[in-house]
Symmetry: C2
Subunit: 237 residues, 2 copies
DNA sequence: ATTGCTCTATGATAAAAGTCATAACAGTAC
DNA sequence: GTACTGTTATGACTTTTATCATAGAGCAAT
């Protein structure tokens, strides 16, 4: 694991923050947040915060990609959320008065701004609009988690893998070619997103390839037949 | 299914509301909520709200037991939360500006107060303390959902069933005898809580009985060896 | 008491998914 | 280049879990 060297950068004009929930704060509050934020660059594999540790603030992803993963009782990783620019994280533990329930691990070089707890809470106390946005965000995440819960309980691995590929596409989109998923996951990471064994993921991806739905080139995954993948995912909701 | 006849009752002095998050509202706001709430009695099987419909307010369970269940893509029930007195529900959809993601179905005769959307939102806008409590509640539920997600993905049915029995115990407690779970679930409902087939649940419960961990008497379940159940659940967190 | 109904229980079997072993391959260090 | 290492791929096999079938138990209505 690389040492967590964090290089500061100036993200004062960060567009990401303007697109995040934080932008819903009143102008004067947004200025306070901007004044107190500390921005850093993280390299692939670096850990932004560790599961089990205490939150000292919230993080806003300015650019890049981050996974939130939780270790199961036997040490197996479960990826519970994916973050991209404009997403904030660390708020669940902070607002719940809890420790981090997952670690935030950077998937590629990523710029992240940190806002200290006291500043964030103080702004939140005086900004009902922002508080509502936070509740909305939490509500959305809870909804997503409950949907996924049902899928994990009821859907076979094949459907969940198709669904996961579509989810990755919805989150990170495609590269310029319009078909290659714009992120590199190992097979193991995909398995930890789906909630299955790595070998099962590899096998099913091979099947998807044989069926012409995807094309595989190392960690590059191309979606050839999205409609067919959607049917394989068998989504109703 | 019984017709949804709702009989009003007076829950003005409802202790449940005093124990719920709503009690964290400022005194004057609590009075407003109390003035505008409408209380009803629901009988076993009645539906408080339906998955897919639009929220018109929040519900506070004054006494009784309620399950929140979500229908999977192929119509199978997944029970995602259990409510008891003092719990509120309906806030997820309301705050998220969303439809209900699950139906609330009453497990036994239950008193529930309804607070209209406008009243609730209005109070919430002017009560930062209550807003924080709501965020705390949402954070807690999100945390629980993410933990369960990991367990569903990684733990075998046997462990999840043991965990579910302990969860039921933590939620509804025991009867006077100190060992009988204070709620009646069908085997199918337990299966829908665990996320497995009804037959698997029946089989494993029989095993637990053979191992002396539980005693079964129709829908009555007695926990004979809680320590052993905890070991079977294999919980680390 | 008899009928019909739902729920619980159990066996037989099939399907799904996980595990283990090993090979092929790619990327990196030397 | 060669060795080393980690990832991907595949086959063989086992375990887990679901499904199907059927029987019995409990309960309500007649």
């Amino acid at each position: 694991m690389k040492p967590p060297v964090e290089i500061r950068f100036d993200c004062h004009t960060s567009e990401a923050m303007m697109n995040s929930v934080l932008s819903k704060a009143k102008k004067e509050h947004l200025e306070i947040l901007n004044e107190h934020k500390v921005c850093n660059i993280y390299k692939r594999g670096q850990v932004v915060f560790h599961e089990g540790s205490h939150p000292f603030g919230v993080y806003c992803v300015s650019s890049g990609k981050v996974k939130l993963s939780h270790l199961g009782d036997d040490g197996k990783e479960q990826i519970i959320r994916l973050l991209k620019e404009g997403d904030i994280t660390g708020y669940r533990a902070l607002l719940g008065g809890d420790r981090y329930g997952a670690s935030a691990i950077v998937l590629e070089d990523t710029h992240i701004c940190f806002i200290p707890k006291e500043i964030f809470i103080d702004v939140l106390k005086n900004d009902a609009g922002l508080a509502f946005e936070m509740m909305k965000l939490l509500s959305y995440e809870l909804h997503r988690a409950e949907l996924q819960l049902t899928h994990l309980a009821q859907k076979p691995v094949r459907e969940r893998l198709a669904e996961t590929l579509l989810f990755i596409k919805d989150t990170y989109g495609f590269e310029q070619d319009g078909i290659t998923l714009n992120v590199r996951f190992s097979r193991e990471e995909i398995a930890n997103l789906v909630g299955t064994a790595t070998e099962s993921t590899i096998r099913l991806l091979s099947e998807f390839k044989k069926d012409g739905m995807v094309e595989l080139d190392g960690k590059k995954i191309k979606i050839l037949m999205q409609r067919e993948l959607e049917r394989t995912a068998n989504l109703q909701d």
